[in-house]
């Protein structure tokens, strides 16, 4: 029920700018995820949207109306704090029900909703404990519970699942998604978990040092990162980058580096110094020579469960490849490396902006 717009929002702490001229519109009912390296200003942005922090300059609009001067308690937003901020003097039940109590919801309704939220979060049997007596993950769930019982215009969730185990996280993710559908409100989500970001979001905004790098759908971000930073940031294990240059060899446009020489389809008028990007899953390995593959040697291989992450050394360059389990070559074994030509990224070596990306999203 709310479109949230940040207009030229800047936030400084004593001279240090942590959010820099941010412009971002989160559409009504959108699920937007904020990602970015630690300390890039995600929490600060949420806090400004929420009204806990006032922007040094710029404005926040809800549904087109400026709210910069509206205190948080009048903004009708729910928030999960990164640090939980549970009320230590209240039981879990009171913690979760507090906002409802503030809205003068009848006692019985509160109880019912708290119970239901607790069930969803699997903390039903902890309802009468104080936060002090909970484990880290349990506290985080209480913090989440405090937000999900609410009926707010916008939900801000600051890494709400970071301390939960994978199982639970999957479940909680589903619950949050379902809540999003159910209440049809705007969600702004901060996470460090790429799977979360990729699977849950309508759009992802990538922040770096307080500046938005790209704001687009998950596919777009993954497939067509706007610059090298986004490309490297999204995707784990991260994209391989090889510095080199473009050259025309026999009328074929080629990317060349010490180790690689790869034909590449690219429009004209690009700078010569470029960086080639290729994701590990787009690197194929073969124990036997294959046409167009380069020979390298296995440097190290790490099992990731279903896959194996193999680092291959070609000349002086290291390339990571993600191949399905089993992979049985040992250190220094010769291996042949091929790059999926359809899924190559090219960035300017100078400023890192994307020069080309796979034409076609997966």
């Amino acid at each position: 029920m709310a479109e949230v717009r940040l207009e030229n929002v800047t936030k400084s702490f004593g001279g240090k700018t942590v959010v820099d001229d941010l412009n971002l519109t989160i559409r009504d009912q959108e699920f937007l995820t904020l990602v970015g390296p630690s300390g890039c200003g995600k929490s600060t942005t949420l806090r400004m949207i929420c009204g806990l922090e006032r922007a040094t300059s710029g404005n926040v609009f809800f549904d087109g109306k400026p709210v910069s001067w509206l205190p948080a308690n009048k903004r009708d937003v729910a928030m999960v704090f990164q640090s939980y901020a549970l009320y230590p003097h209240k039981t879990v039940r009171q913690n979760i029900g507090f906002a409802l109590k503030m809205m003068r919801v009848p006692k019985a309704t509160i109880d019912e909703q708290v119970l239901e939220a607790a069930r969803t979060l699997d903390i039903e049997d902890l309802l009468d404990r104080k936060p002090r007596e909970l484990s880290g993950g349990q506290r985080q769930r209480v913090a989440l519970g405090r937000a999900i019982v609410r009926d707010a215009g916008a939900y801000l969730l600051d890494e709400p699942l970071s301390n939960l185990d994978a199982q639970l996280r999957v479940l909680m993710r589903a619950e949050i998604k379902r809540l999003h559908v159910d209440v049809a409100r705007t969600f702004i989500y901060v996470t460090h978990d790429q799977v979360e970001a990729m699977t849950m979001s309508d759009r992802i905004a990538v922040l770096r040092d307080g500046v938005i790098q790209q704001c687009a759908t998950p596919e777009e971000i993954y497939e067509r990162p706007a610059n090298r930073f986004v490309a490297s940031f999204m995707g784990s294990p991260p994209m391989n980058f090889v510095t080199g240059a473009l050259a025309d060899v026999d009328g074929v446009r080629m990317f060349r580096s010490t180790a690689l020489s790869q034909p590449i389809a690219v429009s004209d008028g690009q700078p010569a110094d470029v960086v080639l990007g290729v994701r590990p899953e787009d690197v194929a390995l073969s124990p036997t020579p294959v046409e167009g593959y380069r020979q390298g040697r296995v440097f190290v291989s790490e099992p990731l469960g279903p896959d194996v992450l193999v680092t291959v050394r070609i000349e002086d360059e290291l390339l990571k490849a993600r191949v399905p389990t089993p992979f049985r070559l040992g250190h220094d074994a010769p291996v042949y490396v091929g790059l999926n030509p359809e899924r190559l990224h090219l960035f300017s070596a100078a400023d890192g902006t994307a020069l080309q990306a796979p034409r076609d999203a997966a």
Binding site: A2, P66, L70, S83, T120
Partner: protein, 323 residues
Amino acid sequence: MGHHRHHPPHLGRLHRPPLPEGKFRSMTTVVQVPLRYRVPFKKIALYVLAVAFGLYLVLPFYWIVAMSFMHEADAIAVPPSWVPVHPTLENYLGFVNPDAAQELVGGRAVSETPYSLRNSLVVATATALLNLVLATFAAYSFSRLKFRGSQVLLLLYLLTRMVPGIAIIIPFYLLMRSFGLLDTYLALILSYTTFALPITIWILKDFFRSVPRELEEAARVDRCGWFRTMWSVFLPVAAPGLVAAAVFAFMTAWNEFMFALFLTSTTAAKTIPVVAANFATDFNTQFTVMAAAGVLAVVPPLVLALLFQRKLVQGMAAGSVKG
């Protein structure tokens, strides 16, 4: 999947409370006017209150200060003049120049004032420190350890403070006399410590309680023994409580009168309240000199307060633990 998770295959949607329409439902209804340049009511209220309290606190004292710069006759003039019309320093002169004190009522008190200020400072500071040390130990036990008899002990501490001083002054005097401590700092320090200790323990135990346990644990893991943990981590974090407790003990010692009167007799240990009392006799009261002494008596604690006020209002454990 964990046996303890029994999620229904399809979780029903959360029931939302039927909220009064238009009141909280959405921010669209809340944000009706662009609240851009709101009058900062809170700030205004804050300043109004601050000024009101400031006046309430300072006006009576101001009168003392003003009087201390007046001649006796002006001080009781009708209507009163709010600033000294014939300002004079003569009320203060005696304190620095004993000869000038001779002619005043309570001239001897005037000459004793500097000593008594020194005594008061020594006694109050020592009391505050001794108190902090003793109370820190005890308060720690109440805030961190579960032990049998803790509640009773807490009450007992309080009880010792609840017997009015008037009932114990004579036996106390006897005790101090038998210790041979009359007219010494130690007598005063010890008695004020016993007065302040129970309350200090109560004060500190509360503040200690709000220091996150994890901090202490972290210090232990960082190889601090208990004392080191207390000194390097626990106490600095509990600083506001310590300052509050120290101020309490200091002030208790600073303005206590009765015990000081009974336990001291010379400038070796007489404190400022005892000496200040000498400015008012049955026969005469040297208002203005007494006011000057009062002003002098207030200055040291006030300076201390200014020095320590920052500690008192520093947040305790911001940003240290998550959850």
